[in-house]
């Protein structure tokens, strides 16, 4: 038996194979235990990596908004107004391309590069970094209110409704239909009862070992029970989280993770 190449299996998992190739891998894995095992190992390793990386993201998630604002302010303070919208591109034109239009801005930026040296920017304690960080006057001068919209504040808490469902035979499947961009907070809880909370207007359906919910806005909060032998959280077609024997595995990149809480953003 000719086995699948590990690179092809990886590409299959990552959705990088053309449809015909993916079908061929699927067919082979269906009848080859060795390749099915290899695929399962790759999937577990990828999931393992995602969970591990999520532990690094807690600080990043907390810092990203403020860091973005500071960088915007520094760039605007040192180079003048940032390039804004170009004229609309007619439909027949080539795909839109971004480029810096202001030669004065390019010149100002280059002067700054030459004056300070690029490496100084990335060295903690560098005088240039401090200067770019700016005193109060610089920060004040560059605080365009329109820019704040790019880093949305946490979503406003609307009145929430929720449903709880106990595992059946140790199994519980939570299936959600959520619009793109919805903030999804998952809490790993003790016991065997799952719960979904969503803004008013959300629909719920319960069956043996199944809890389905459909919401048109967020935030949505889900409690996934660690006491179930087999619990899964699916959004659309994608497996976001699975719990087997008390161990949780994240199936998609999380925005942040803190203790028993995981924050996702539906792509």
């Amino acid at each position: 038996v000719k086995h699948e190449d590990i690179g092809r299996l990886m590409a299959y998992l990552d959705g990088e194979l053309p449809r015909g190739d993916a079908a061929s891998v699927e067919a082979h894995v269906g009848r080859c235990a060795a390749c099915a095992d290899a695929l399962q190992t790759l999937r577990a390793e990828a999931s393992h990596l995602r969970v591990a990386l999520a532990t690094l993201d807690r600080d990043a998630a907390a810092a990203v908004g403020a860091a973005g604002e500071r960088i915007r302010a520094r760039l605007a303070a040192t180079t003048g107004p940032l390039p804004r919208h170009q004229a609309p591109v007619p439909p027949s034109a080539p795909p839109p391309r971004w480029r810096l239009r202001s030669r004065a801005l390019q010149a100002a930026a280059l002067v700054l590069l030459m004056a300070g040296g690029v490496s100084a920017l990335v060295i903690p304690g560098s005088p240039l970094r401090h200067w770019l960080g700016g005193g109060p006057a610089v920060e004040k001068a560059a605080a365009p209110t329109a820019d704040a919209a790019a880093f949305p504040e946490p979503e406003e808490e609307l009145p929430q409704v929720g449903v709880r469902t106990a595992s059946s035979g140790g199994r519980i499947r939570i299936a959600l239909e959520l619009p793109s961009g919805t903030s999804l907070r998952v809490t790993l809880v003790q016991g065997e009862t799952a719960a979904v909370f969503a803004p008013q207007g959300a629909g719920f359906r319960q069956a043996d070992g199944l809890l389905e919910a459909s919401a048109t806005s967020g935030p949505v909060h889900v409690e996934v029970p660690l006491g179930s032998e087999d619990a899964s959280l699916v959004v659309g077609e994608r497996l976001y989280l699975s719990v087997r024997e008390g161990r949780a595995e994240v199936g998609v990149p999380a925005e942040s993770r803190s203790g028993t809480e995981i924050l996702f953003r539906v792509p």
């Binding site: 190449d5 590990i6 690179g7 092809r8 299996l9 990886m10 590409a11 990552d14 990088e16 790759l42 390793e45 393992h48 990596l49 591990a52 990386l53 532990t55 690094l56 993201d57 807690r58 600080d59 990043a60 998630a61 810092a63 990203v64 860091a67 973005g68 500071r70 960088i71 915007r72 520094r74 760039l75 180079t79 940032l82 390039p83 804004r84 919208h85 170009q86 795909p95 839109p96 391309r97 971004w98 480029r99 810096l100 390019q106 930026a109 280059l110 700054l112 590069l113 690029v118 490496s119 920017l121 990335v122 060295i123 903690p124 304690g125 970094r129 790019a150 880093f151 990149p253 203790g259």
Partner: protein, 169 residues
């Protein structure tokens, strides 16, 4: 597409990527800022997807350079102790610090190319874009990623086992 759009689309992902690579929010901010600054100052042109790859590539090089500088400045850096974040529960803080350290340590054992490829994949880059960023053939990306995540799993797993062994019977 204007600068604001590129910044809004790419910055959160670039910041997270830099943070994962450096383990330091200040360093991530510095590097991301420098990458966007170069985008402006060099007048770089391209499609949004192309500019995204370009920014990640620049950030990766900056971080590599930063580590080289840091090695030469290690004595100085020791004089800047890390301040705790101020979270209320010391036990939680300790546990969290340990897990962050374990992940960072496991990432640090990987060759630079492996690290870059894994983290770019996690940011949603295609194999073609990853290949472009690390200068490999697109057809070899799957194999390289598979081996890289195997190495990470082995390194992280070994670290976890060692930790669990401390204080055991």
């Amino acid at each position: 597409v204007d600068f604001e759009t590129i910044f809004g689309d790419v910055f959160p992902s670039l910041f997270r990527y830099c943070h994962r690579l450096t383990g330091d929010a200040d360093a991530a901010e510095d590097v991301a800022q420098e990458a966007f600054f170069r985008l402006l100052s060099h007048g770089v042109e391209g499609s949004p997807a192309g500019l995204r790859v370009w920014l990640f590539r620049v950030a990766t090089h900056l971080i590599r350079d930063r580590y080289r500088v840091a090695q030469n400045r290690s004595r100085l850096l020791e004089t800047y102790p890390v301040e705790p974040g101020g979270a209320p529960d010391p036990e939680w803080l300790l546990e969290r610090a340990e897990s962050v350290t374990a992940v960072s340590a496991a990432l640090a054992t990987l060759p630079e190319r492996d690290r870059t490829m894994l983290l770019m994949r996690e940011e949603g880059f295609s194999y073609r874009e990853i290949a472009e960023a690390v200068d490999v053939q697109p057809t070899s990306v799957g194999t390289l990623l598979a081996r890289a995540q195997q190495r990470f799993a082995a390194s992280y797993g070994a670290g976890q086992t060692r930790e669990e062994g401390i204080g055991g019977p």
